[in-house]
Each structure stands twice: as C-alpha cells, then as structure tokens.
Symmetry: C2
Subunit: 194 residues, 2 copies
Amino acid sequence: MTEMGRRERKKAATRQALADAALRLFADRGYDEVGVREIADAADVSVTTLFKHFPDGKEALVFDQDVDREAALVAAVRERPAGQSVPEALHRMFQGEHSRRVHADPRFDDFLRLIDTTPALREYARRMWLRHEHALAAAIAEDAGLPDDDPGCRALAHFALEAPVLVRGTGDPDAALDRIFDLLANGWTGERVG
Amino acid sequence: MTEMGRRERKKAATRQALADAALRLFADRGYDEVGVREIADAADVSVTTLFKHFPDGKEALVFDQDVDREAALVAAVRERPAGQSVPEALHRMFQGEHSRRVHADPRFDDFLRLIDTTPALREYARRMWLRHEHALAAAIAEDAGLPDDDPGCRALAHFALEAPVLVRGTGDPDAALDRIFDLLANGWTGERVG
DNA sequence: TTAAAAAGCGTAACAGCTCAACTTTCTGAG
DNA sequence: CTCAGAAAGTTGAGCTGTTACGCTTTTTAA
C-alpha cells in the first residue's frame, strides 16, 4: 500500500524539485522577483506541468508540508485531560510551537521569514490555516453537546485559529498568546491583569 | 471649500460612471464573467483611466462607499453610556445594521448578493473592514488605560470586527451575533446557554 | 497669458494562469 | 505478453489583471 510504483515516485520527485527550486529562488531574490516561468525552468519542466502539480497557484509552491495539523487540533480538544477547558487545551497546544518547529528544521527559518515579508503569502497561509475551522468547530460542538454548526463553537474555533496569526509580529508573542486565550476563556474584563 | 470646480466634478462623474457600469455588469453576468476592458468600454473610458481611478484593482470597483465607518466604530467605544462594557457597545452597534442598510438603498441587495457569491470579493471586503482594526484597538486601549499596541485590545478589536463577517451565511445572523459577543464578554463556558 | 498640474488616451508589455492537442511513459486486466 | 488507456509531460497560443511609457487635452492658478 505505502510503496508506490515508479510512476508516483517520479511524480513526487518532480513536485519536490519544483518546491525546492521555488523556495531557493524565493529566499534568494524575494517572492515577487521570481516568475513561475523561471521556477519551471529551474526544475526543468514546463509551466503547464508546474500548474498541474500546484493547481492553487504560485503561492502553493511554498507550502509543501502542513499535513496532519487538523488531526492534532481535533485531538487536542477530544483528548484533553479532565477538568481542562477547551480554550486551555488549544492554548497549550500553541504554546512554544514556534520555537519547537524552528528547532526541528533549520530551513524552517527561511520559510518563516519569507512568509512574514510577503503579504500574498501571509494571506495564503492564513487561509490554509483557517481551513481547519470547520473540523475544529465540529470537535468543540461535539464536546459541548451542541449542534455541529453552532455559531458559538464556530466563533471559538475561528478565534482560536486566528490567535497564532495575530501574535506574529508582536514584541512578545508568548505573552500576547496568553492575553488572547485569557480573553477567550474569561471574556473581556476591561481591567489590567496586573 | 465644499464646492468643487469643473475639474473635480468631472473626475467624480467618471469615477461614478465606472462604478455604476461595473456594478450593473457584475450583477448581470457575475464578477468573473466581466473583464476590466469591458467595464472601461461601458463607461467610455480607457483601461488605464480605470486603473487611475481604482488603483486597488477590479475588486475596488464594487466598494465605492464605505466612508466614516471607522469614526463610527471609535465613537461607539468612546461615547458609550456609563456602565456599558466595550463588547456591549460594539454588539449594539452591529445589531440590525444589515436590515437598516438594506432598507436605505434598494440596490444594496444586489451589492450584498454579489459579494456573498464571489470569493474574491468576500476576501477583499474582509480586508477593507479589518483595516479599522488598528484605530478600534487604539480606542479600546485608551479607554482601558493600556498601551496603544496592547495585544489584548488588538485581539478584542480584531474579533469584534470579524463578528459581522462570521455571522453572514448562518441561519439566524442575529442569534449568532449574540452568541459571539457573549463569548467575547463572558468567555467560553462550555455549557449550553439555555 | 501662460505654464504647470491633472485627466485621459493608446500601445505595448509582463505576470499569473488556462486550454487544446499531442507525445511519452507507465499500469493493469485479459 | 500485450495492448488499451490512464496519467505525466510538452508545446504553444491565449486570456485577464495590471503597469509603464509617452503623448494630447483640459483646467487651474499665478
């Protein structure tokens, strides 16, 4: 099952070559300074082929991984320890994720810098990330015994997913994350936390 | 001061002609089925002129109004009655806004349908709307005696502004709005409201 | 009166993306 | 083993949004 024939191996190789070439060129000269024609050339394929592999367009070339995040989100809600609230569970999941990932792969640094400096990529990343909203909302709703499309659950899922996006670029991301989840857990107090 | 010379009057007229032509064509045949060249033709203007009037591109042709919303937001926070919380104030402001606007202008209906059916326009509308985040966050921060860029205030501003976007497309927008602001005011309870 | 500012024009081009028609390569069922 | 067909790839043309360039015309203001 898991082993793939020559065909799929070649396909994966081409895809990888495209993603690698793109990331290298982007990191070198900036996202907007590199055209898709050039990327296709660098990977020695035609432009049409490039778009067969990445139908979502130029931006998708940068996001080659990003699997199983949805499962992790749902699991964080479903399998949280007893007595822990849903916001707490998500808060914990997001804490320190950044530094953990940077530590795992050195290239991940270029990747983040690239995204942070390119508005189009920031937007795209956000959209990809928010795709999990529905699944997360459903998990929360099931947990709370509410209908699948309950607006409150959808809102909590949405806001929680936006938290990591919001804290990026602030002076102290960890503190900012704490403030946001405090808001989601306890509501707006209007008073300084002390 | 308020009276403008022939020059500015003509400019405004051209701009209006473009916006009108665009809205009509879009409503007729759908956003993606109408090209910018055709719109320019319909307004009897060259394509370059069109882009001089709407430098933000095709999407901007649809959003011709939308002034003073920012001032209204800030005022809602600053001039709210004593004893009313910030979330309450914003909640009140958003309540019934939809029906009020539809009542004011019959064409507003087409406008909304168009936006709801076109992903590119939805995205653009959201971005325009969220531009006020900074101003709103500053107003909230000032009110609470916190620094301008306090993450909690920014988060509240962001979430509040997203509320109207989130409730669109739900079965009962008014109820959904209530739920969202209940979350922002009191935090996540995990229990049915009853 | 006149010079600069601003609106507009047409052409040409670029970038992202798609389409159509065709070739090559692999797969799998008979 | 073979052969039909699916899937990857190619080429090339073309569409759409958008911008740059160089030019003419109108309006303004000194």
